[in-house]
């Protein structure tokens, strides 16, 4: 459905998007995730046709729509966009907004489609209201209905939840996913919030400094990050340093672990490996002691920040059941339980 091949976008001399390639198939929901300024919105705007490419190609339904000297105008791409600020037309009613992009239909057909969409987004009877009379979440759903009205080939969503209350976001993300799946809409959204991405997307791409670091599903992203940036950006975790010993095992402050022989690390290599909070098990039997330096109560669990008593005084996070209630400064026993070992060469940077 959508395919990007080595796409680059530049403003003046700055490369906002650098060599990005990925594909989305029909009905899939993709998500570009990354810190602000990573170029994810530029990718979205390039797909919509608001930005021209400096390199690479974009194809929709196997038809080339964007290349360096071959730019199809946005109005001809059949790609709909839901903007961050929704961009509803304030002088038109909800129904008029939704019908705005319906061309070449008579008024009965338009009316029918508008009613269909209002039902779909859960706002039946709101057709005659004006945008300013609606709440933020309702405005978002109107923007969605307007974008979906003409059955676009692809729906783009730019930070769709950023102007909504935090409590609402997860709920709306689930609703939105249900609507998109119901209509079998192919969609691509951008966000900086990984929880939104996990709740919405079938496939997620992490971007940093204009580059696409990894394009895969949420599980792989969390448990098999392809780079140190992805590992640090997705989920909580710390890197601990270790060295590879002569048995091709990894030696670190918390013990010795076997590594995948195909990883290519040699004896004496300095490496770092990722420790997630759920990898550290609180175990009173364990001889490895760590000092509690910070704690935050989260209801059923307590997230402890621990300082290892070994060399380096590295800090790790530990998610313990909340009846294991320890105070700051206490020493508690811990054990490392690594299900997936994620190792990167230690080149001194994050």
């Amino acid at each position: 459905m959508l395919s990007l091949n080595k796409v680059s976008v530049g403003y003046q001399n700055v490369k906002a998007v650098d060599d990005v390639s990925f594909e989305l198939s029909v009905g899939q929901i993709g998500c570009l995730l990354g810190p602000s300024g990573c170029g994810k919105t530029s990718v979205l705007r390039a797909i919509a046709g608001f930005e021209k490419l400096t390199e690479g190609q974009i194809s929709l339904r196997d038809k080339l729509v964007g290349a360096k000297n071959n730019h199809l105008e946005p109005e001809k791409r059949h790609v709909a966009v839901v903007f961050q600020d929704y961009a509803l037309f304030p002088h038109l009613t909800v129904a008029q907004n939704i019908a705005f992009g319906l061309h070449g239909q008579n008024s009965t057909q338009k009316h029918q489609r508008v009613m269909e969409l209002l039902n779909l987004v859960g706002l039946p009877g709101y057709g005659n209201r004006y945008p300013h009379e609606l709440s933020g979440g309702q405005q978002q759903r109107v923007a969605l209905a307007r974008a979906m009205a003409a059955k676009p080939d692809l729906l783009l969503l730019d930070e769709p939840f950023s102007s909504l209350d935090a409590e609402l976001r997860y709920e709306l993300a689930k609703d939105l996913r249900a609507i998109l799946k119901h209509e079998n809409t192919t969609a691509l959204m951008v966000t900086h919030d990984q929880h939104e991405a996990f709740a919405m997307a079938d496939v997620i791409g992490v971007m940093n400094k204009g580059r696409l670091m990894q394009w895969t599903d949420a599980y792989t992203l969390y448990h098999r990050p392809a780079s140190r940036f992805v590992a640090a950006f997705v989920g909580d975790g710390v890197f601990l340093s270790a060295t590879i010993d002569n048995n091709n095992k990894m030696n670190c402050a918390l013990g010795v672990f076997p590594i995948n022989p195909e990883s290519g690390f040699k004896q004496g290599d300095k490496v770092v490996f990722l420790v997630r909070p759920d990898d550290i098990i609180h175990d009173d039997e364990s001889e490895t002691l760590a000092k509690i330096v910070d704690r935050s109560f989260q209801g059923s669990h307590i997230l402890y920040q621990l300082e290892l008593q070994h060399v380096g005084h590295a800090r790790v996070l530990c998610l313990a059941l909340s009846h294991h209630d320890h105070q700051l400064g206490e020493l508690i026993g811990i054990r490392l339980d690594l299900e997936h070992l994620i190792v990167f060469a230690d080149n001194g940077s994050d």
Partner: protein, 554 residues
Amino acid sequence: MKQINWLKNWFNVWFVGIAFGCFILAAPIGLVFVSVFFPQTEIWQHLYSTVLSDYIVNSLILAFGVGAIVIVIGTVLAWCIARYEFAGRKQLQWLILLPMAMPAYIIAYTYTGLLDFSGPLQSLLRETFNWQYGDYYFPEIRSLPGAIVMLSLVLYPYVYMLARTAFSEQPASLEEVSRSLGVSPSKHLFKVVLPLARPAILMGAALAMMEAFADYGTVQYFGLSTFTTGIFRTWFGLGNGLAAAQLAAMLTSFVVLLLILEYLSRRKIRYYFQGQRAQQVSRQKLVGRKAFWVPFICVIPVFFGFILPVLQLFTWALKTYSKKLTSEFWLLLWNSFYLAAIAAITAVILALLFAYGKRLNPIKPIKLLVGIVNLGYAVPGTVIAIGAMISLSWFDIKLNVLTENWFDVSVGLVFSGSLFALILVYSSRFLAVAMHNIDTGLARVKPSMDDAARSLGYKPLQILRTIHVPLMKTSVLSALLLVFVDVLKELPATLILRPFNFNTLAVRAFELASDERLMDAALPALAIVSVGILPVILLTMLMDKPSQHSTQVK
């Protein structure tokens, strides 16, 4: 018990002061409407059978003609400045506002001098083509269409300013939505851009039309029969003050209709852009032929509305200044300046009183009273002047009867025959201008700041000195300046109410022009125009400040 508390809440020094101030300011206008209850059957029959329909039809044609033209000029200019980037755009931005410095009666007589039979243009045509009188057609400037063009040339900035803000505030995403939905640019223009700007455009047009209804100088100079000239004629020609006041009431009701339209537009603007603080549309850089045509089109209204008439005034002034720069001119200048200064200070002090009163006692009756006096800007100067004249002369007569009975002396016309009458009328008419600025300034001093300062141990007077005065300084100064210039330009009320033998620049320029001494009128006219430029500069500075959310109206 409850009732007593309620009374106590209302009845304090602020309320009494504000109510008294409002009463005095609104009395002249109120009186004009009261006059309706004293029917002058005979004179109305006469008016009805002769000139009344002229008054109504001409005033309406004038106002709507001006409205239509300013909408076209203002919207086109606003679009070019808001959406295109071209060489000279920055300079044009403030050049476009300059015609605001030009009172309509001055531009009217300047063009009369330029376009008359003996004027330079027709003389040139006759010489070049060897025509004689009657050989050719030339449009008569002293006509209703002429007056419409003259007023439009100086009033289009109202629409321009409001429309420009409306165009540049439309978020960029609206255009992108239309494009991604496959909507053509022209459909986007007519379905989204213009409907969204419509309230702002109509609001500007309503303001310009109010000025057109109120205009006296231009129509009088062109010899047209409209409401304002009719009021003068009824009073000074037929000698019937009450009938004049009734005509004034009729004129005011037309203005009130416009005021309602303006109010409705304003309300719409408010909800249209509720909470939308998105990225604004970036201006399109012009290349090729358009890069020449757009600045050219933008210059046309300024050229005819300011540059050309000012050049003409300059040439006249150059010929006459040696004879005219006498003590008489300096006296005119002094009269105008001190009158305007006193009026400006009075209006600003009243505005401060009302604004603080409203802030300290945010209760309905005070808000209502302040809202009523704020409507003064909509009432034509002629109307307020008539009301003031009638009420003050009645007051003077009673006062004189009193003093003659008690002290055996006659104090003369202390109110109606002195500057007091003028100051009252100016305050009543221009209070809204001052209030608008003071309110904007006061809005910057958030009530929480007062609380914060008090909790940090400051006394109310200290708070006034250390917080309010520094924050309010610029708004008070700009309020003073704007009222000062408006008073300097004001013509009809000054004509009616000035004390005997008291002349101002505006009055003198108008009298000289009416006597066909156009050249002699140039010097006082230029003085008015050059002072009038000051608020335009102020306005450009305010408009350039991006943080300024509200648009200055005057």
